[in-house]
């Protein structure tokens, strides 16, 4: 619905601009669609690698971090993805994760090393499930298309307003063949002006509303895949408690992160210009769910918000799905936080191509990749080690 209104805005602005400048609405529509097509092509061929290289993400294989790889594989099975997404770790102490990929078969999931250290397995599973549901629901594609729509509207509005100003400065270029006469001209001028000012603003609000809606859907999908909404809820809680900003995020890439990298603490109401719903509300909905299905999520959402639900009607089934029995943290084999921190920093050193030498005194020597000497001396005890 929202996407349709955004598309309608585009068509309207094209229509009125064309009517004003070219006396032909069709010309305006054609230009609008042309700009949209060109932007779409550019956007389509840009690819995911730009986003990943921007965030200094490092790709991992199964051996690099078996727990993370296994969790992603488990969610791949639960969601029914055909191909395993590529997994990246971002070397950043802040807590965040994102998913990219226009196509479910060529998708990637990235997570910061800070988040990897902080979460236990159930919480990690919830976060990964949320990201994978973005991939499965094709949210990345949707948001990319919406931002192209938004960009087209903004471009048209901007050029329209410039031509309007130039047009009136260089004198009237209207001939009397525009049928209708002066009165109709002014009306069209006013409408065109209104659209040129309002359309970008409205389009932006619609864009943010779409983004928030897809976030709710991703939360609901994560609860359904894991059958354990508490996992994602407590992960979001940990995320909410931290305020460190992700160094490499910017406004353009913000919608794809699991929490708004630009959030300010204390924003209660659903800020109209926010790409994500407020964390406290997301946690509340997840914890109030009676079952794990979309129906249960929608029910709680309607209670919290009153009125319409947020899940598309096509996905609502009649029956509910039970939540899995409570899982214990610190079960046999589950690493505690200190072990996770050690494990993650080991992985990050290895991925940066450092050698690790364990000295007999207990110290771990990290040798940088460009170290040329054949031997190294332990700074703690003085023993020499061969490289």
């Amino acid at each position: 619905m929202l996407t349709i209104s955004m598309g309608a805005l585009l068509i309207l602005i094209g229509y009125f601009l064309g009517l004003y400048f070219f006396d032909s609405a069709t010309a305006g529509l054609v230009i609008a669609l042309l700009v949209w097509a060109i932007l779409s092509l550019i956007g389509y061929f840009q690819g995911d690698s730009i986003l990943l290289s921007m965030s200094r993400a490092k790709k991992i294989r199964r051996d690099d971090h078996p727990r993370l790889y296994n969790v992603v594989e488990e969610m791949k099975i639960a969601s029914g993805l055909e191909k395993m997404p590529e997994i990246y770790i971002i070397d950043d102490p802040s807590l965040n994760a994102f998913a990219t990929g226009r196509d479910p078969n060529r998708a990637s999931v990235a997570i910061t090393s800070g988040l990897l250290q902080k979460l236990n397995r159930d919480e990690l599973q919830g976060v990964i499930a949320h990201e994978i549901s973005h991939i499965k629901n094709r949210d990345v594609l949707l948001m990319a298309m919406c931002s192209i729509l938004l960009g087209t509207i903004v471009i048209l509005a901007w050029y329209g307003s410039r031509f309007l100003i130039f047009g009136s400065v260089t004198g009237s270029r209207r001939s009397s063949s525009s049928g209708g006469g002066g009165g109709a001209q002014i009306i069209i001028l006013v409408v065109a002006l209104v659209f040129m000012i309002l359309a970008p603003i409205m389009a932006q609000f619609i864009y943010f509303a779409i983004s928030r809606k897809r976030e709710y859907l991703a939360d609901a999908s994560a609860a359904l895949y894991t059958r354990y909404p508490e996992g994602l809820a407590s992960a979001l809680e940990k995320l909410g408690a931290s305020t460190g900003q992700l160094k490499s995020a910017n406004k353009a890439t913000a919608p794809m992160y699991i929490v708004n990298p630009f959030r300010k603490k204390g924003l209660k109401a659903s800020d109209l210009s926010s790409t994500h719903p407020p964390l406290s509300e997301r946690i509340r909905i997840l914890r109030a769910m009676a079952g794990a299905s979309f129906n249960d999520y929608d029910q709680v959402y309607r209670q919290v918000h009153g009125g319409k639900g947020v899940i598309p009607a096509a996905s609502l089934a009649a029956e509910t799905v039970p939540i899995a029995t409570t899982k214990l943290e610190g079960e046999a084999g589950e690493p505690n936080e200190i072990q996770r921190v050690r494990e993650t920093s080991d992985v990050m050193w290895r991925l940066s191509k450092y050698h690790t030498i364990t000295c007999d005194c207990g110290a771990k020597l990290r040798v940088p990749p460009n170290f040329k000497e054949p031997q190294i001396k332990c700074p703690h005890c003085g023993r020499t080690h061969q490289i």
Binding site: P66, V71, E74, G80, R227, A332, G333
Partner: protein
């Protein structure tokens, strides 16, 4: 003339609807088959993991011979009945799951074993495989639900009956053994 065009138009639209529904049924049924095969893959992975696990644990858990043997026997039995009917197979797999959880509960008493890197890696793999088995069963059931909905709900049930698509069975776990939580004795 117009009447003819309208009729042709209606027929074309009906044909498109028919084809779309038929394709959707085929896609869902294939997804069910694929999901079933996925369960197989994960079960097989568990068979391959267990001998390694038992070997690593044996060195440390010298007094837990029965627990270890139970696991090995359950695993061998499950592998044998792998080609038998679904009911028998589910039972054997359930027995294996409970034997494994008993073993992992006992591991808590052996801090040396818990610190062994090899064992930890194996345990992670095993936990993950158990999760994957349950998720692939979950996905199978979800797929069966979607498929059954489409074969039974109106109007696609007409097309389903015409082309011979039948509802599938859910993978139910009706074993007491699997539902039972492992007993931890404090004696």
């Amino acid at each position: 003339m117009l009447a003819v065009y309208i009729v042709i138009g209606i027929i074309v639209v009906l044909l498109i609807i028919f084809l779309a529904t038929y394709n959707s049924l085929v896609r869902l049924r294939n997804q069910v088959k694929n999901a079933w095969a996925q369960i197989d893959v994960q079960l097989k992975r568990r068979y391959d993991l267990i001998p390694n696990l038992v070997e690593t644990a044996k060195g440390y858990m010298k007094h837990e011979r029965e627990t270890l043997e139970a696991v090995t026997n359950a695993r061998n039995l499950a592998q044998q009945v792998a080609s038998a009917g679904a009911g028998e197979r589910a039972k054997a797999e359930g027995e294996l799951s409970s034997a494994l959880s008993r073993l992992l509960a006992v591991v808590e008493n052996y801090p040396d074993l818990k610190a062994n890197q090899n064992f930890l890696a194996l345990q992670e793999e095993l936990t993950s495989t158990e999760n994957k088995i349950s998720f692939s069963r979950q996905f199978y059931n979800d797929s069966v639900l979607k498929y059954n909905n489409q074969t039974q709900m109106f109007p696609s049930n007409i097309i389903a009956n015409m082309t011979g698509f039948k509802a599938s069975e859910f993978f139910e776990v009706t074993l007491a053994a699997e539902r039972e939580a492992p007993k931890v004795s404090f004696t």
